[in-house]
């Protein structure tokens, strides 16, 4: 029973972790809370839906050859990540960059981010209608049973993919030149272009990485819980944001740890208390962590010079 909850918590927390990554990276580089990120997760899930149904031949546009299941999965991931990155970068170019050029206070960019999020949600609702979509079963479910514990192969895949993403991003941020540039921008945005580093390109790259990871989370979420609806990104996005802050916003390890903490809190609270109290207690615990350690677990307190 306990082990079952641990596995559920790991899987549930992985979704939060993948989305919290995007929040953390963008905040680390731009000091901007990209409130639209939860909705990019939703957009990723929807794009994954359309790409996979297209590849599976559900539309009148048929591909000349039949694709095997594994290839469909691979192509879905690739194409969805690419298109969602495109959406993220477009948002950055259209909504955030002009404000950055103007040099306005960060608050206005955050408001714009909120509005972009609302725009994505309601645009989806208006364009595609309120009916829920059924995500096709890309990965056939196999149920395993070890003693008392039941889990499907999808849960294992989610946890494994999240771990891989974590290792990949740690490598990128710590070991490559691009990662060093990203960290440099988070220290001192003014000095970076002076050193010959194209700050705009780095920012675009950050958005690409963040949005692709959100797309991965979107597809995995859709595979695990195959119902898609326009508001699925809203609540998950806010919770992922809070978990990013609890872990220490701006730090990739923080995003993962924060996401997993929130996952564990929610699953165990739902297991021990009546499930309607889940949100209440989870948020209460998060407030407690933030009161004890205001900058989050891995966060660094920013000193402001007087």
């Amino acid at each position: 029973m306990f082990v079952q909850n641990i596995i559920n918590a790991l899987q549930w927390g992985s979704f939060y972790a993948l989305i919290a990554l995007g929040y953390s990276m963008v905040y680390g580089v731009l000091l901007l809370i990209n409130f639209a990120h939860g909705d990019i997760f939703m957009v990723g899930a929807y794009i994954g839906f359309f790409v996979s149904t297209l590849l599976l031949g559900a539309y009148s546009f048929q591909l000349p050859w039949k694709l095997s299941g594994g290839l469909v999965v691979f192509l879905t991931f690739l194409l969805t990540m690419a298109i969602t990155s495109g959406v993220g970068v477009t948002i950055e170019r259209v909504a955030y960059r002009p404000l950055r050029r103007k040099g306005v206070s960060r608050l206005y960019v955050v408001i714009t981010a909120l509005m972009v999020g609302l725009l994505l949600e309601n645009g989806n609702l208006a364009l595609l209608g309120a009916s829920r979509r059924n995500f096709p079963e890309l990965i056939p479910k196999v149920l395993y049973s070890v003693g008392d514990v039941n889990f499907t192969n999808i849960k294992i895949i989610v946890i494994a993919v999240t771990l891989l993403v974590f290792l990949f991003l740690q490598t990128v941020v710590l070991k490559t030149k691009w990662g060093m540039a990203m960290r440099a921008i988070s220290y001192d945005r003014m000095a970076v272009p002076l050193m010959g580093i194209p700050a705009d390109t780095i920012i675009v790259m950050t958005f690409v990485l963040g949005s692709s990871m959100a797309a991965v989370a979107g597809i995995l979420f859709a595979v695990s819980y195959p119902i898609l609806e326009p508001y699925m990104g809203a609540l998950v996005g806010w919770k992922a944001f809070i978990s990013a802050v609890v872990g220490g916003i701006g730090d990739i390890r923080g995003a993962f740890v924060g996401g997993l903490i929130l996952g564990f809190t929610e699953i165990f609270v739902a297991a021990l208390f009546p499930s309607t109290l889940r949100d209440l207690i989870a948020f209460g615990i998060l407030l407690l962590i933030l009161t004890l350690r205001p900058t989050g677990i891995f966060g660094v307190a920013r000193r402001t010079k007087v």
């Binding site: 103007k102 609702l125 109290l277």
Partner: protein, 344 residues
């Protein structure tokens, strides 16, 4: 005479609104819009106190509205109506006319105490972290209300309509219009006087430079507490009025969407501008109604308008200034400037 022009203007508007509603010239739909404008004015100006004048980032305003709404509604329904939740009424329904404002103020008081929940974390954190704490408080309040089954939980709470009918039996006036606009004008007056007082100047000083303000003798803790409590108290008043206008409340209507609406109104009007937030509340409410034929596309157009506003006129409609700064003659007409000053 000229010194009181603004008061006369306000009184004239009030009499016009109530008179037209009573005479039946304004349809119930228009009356509803007018009352919502009043509630939105209270919401946006109270949030402007914290977000605009003090420069914090409080995203959880709807939670305080919920506290005020539920407190007031529970009390009025308990006192004045016979129902399944509370049993027979404690006082005759006619007493509602006299006691309603006091119950409303009590709801605001409880909401102000709830504002302390946000004020204390604000001593240690600012900016983005405070945003999360306020968001979390909003969720916690909403979740807490959803879990209290005796008052309906997530299904909502109703019965306020009968309180209003009780008032109507005494005198057939549009009571909610009267109460809404009395409190809306009181709110505007209160905030205007507060901001031009020493307390208000201390709050603006905190926005500009908190450390310098502390050094100059502003008791920042006290100022923050007062500002947060005032802001959430007024939001509680707005919530109580909102509850009685609709006659039915449920926790779902006090979530992130409502907080976002309040944020939009504040930033649309301009941070730190009272006339700005009043103007934007009016514009926003009317915009929502004008766009109603668009149905689903309404909530696509509204964020789009705001994004365009942010891109092309970041300060909002009025920026940091008041209406009388853009139209200096208004100052003379409304009697806000003393006559006899030599013009430079």
């Amino acid at each position: 005479m000229k010194r009181y022009s603004l008061t006369f203007l306000a009184l004239g508007f009030f009499i016009l609104a109530v008179g037209l509603s009573w005479a039946g010239v304004l349809s119930p739909y228009l009356q509803l819009i007018l009352m919502f404008v009043g509630v939105n004015i209270m919401m946006s100006s109270s949030l402007n106190l914290v977000n605009g004048y003090m420069g914090e980032f409080s995203c959880g305003h709807a939670g305080f509205m919920a506290v005020g709404a539920y407190t007031t509604s529970l009390l009025t329904v308990w006192f004045f109506t016979t129902g399944s939740v509370f049993g027979p009424n404690l006082l005759a329904p006619a007493w509602a006319i006299v006691l309603f404002p006091f119950l409303l103020l009590f709801g605001g008081l409880i909401a102000a105490l709830a504002g302390l929940l946000v004020a204390f974390p604000s001593f240690r954190t600012r900016g983005d972290y405070l945003a999360i704490i306020t968001l979390a408080v909003n969720y916690i309040v909403k979740s807490a209300i959803e879990n209290v089954q005796p008052i309906g939980g997530a299904r909502g709470f109703m019965g306020m309509g009968r309180v209003i009918s009780g008032m109507k039996e005494v005198a057939d006036l549009p009571w909610m219009m009267i109460w809404t606009w009395i409190f809306a004008f009181l709110t505007m007056l209160l905030i205007k006087r507060f901001v031009s007082s020493t307390y208000g100047k201390g709050i603006i000083a905190i926005r500009d430079d908190e450390i310098a303000a502390e050094i100059m003798g502003v008791n920042t803790r006290r100022a923050k507490m007062v500002a947060f409590m005032l802001s959430s108290g007024l939001a509680g008043l707005a919530g109580g009025l909102f509850a009685h206008i609709l006659g039915y409340i449920n926790p779902g209507s006090f979530g992130i969407m409502k907080s976002t609406e309040a944020l939009v109104m504040v930033y649309l009007g301009g941070m730190g501008s009272l006339s700005g937030s009043v103007l934007s509340a009016v514009v926003f409410t009317l915009l929502l109604e004008v766009l109603r034929p668009l149905q689903l596309y309404k909530w696509v157009v509204v964020p789009l308008i705001l994004i365009l506003l942010m891109l092309f006129r970041t300060e909002g409609l009025l920026g940091h200034r008041e209406l009388t700064d853009s139209f200096p003659h208004l100052k003379r007409i409304l009697g806000l400037k003393e006559k006899g000053h030599a013009s430079l």
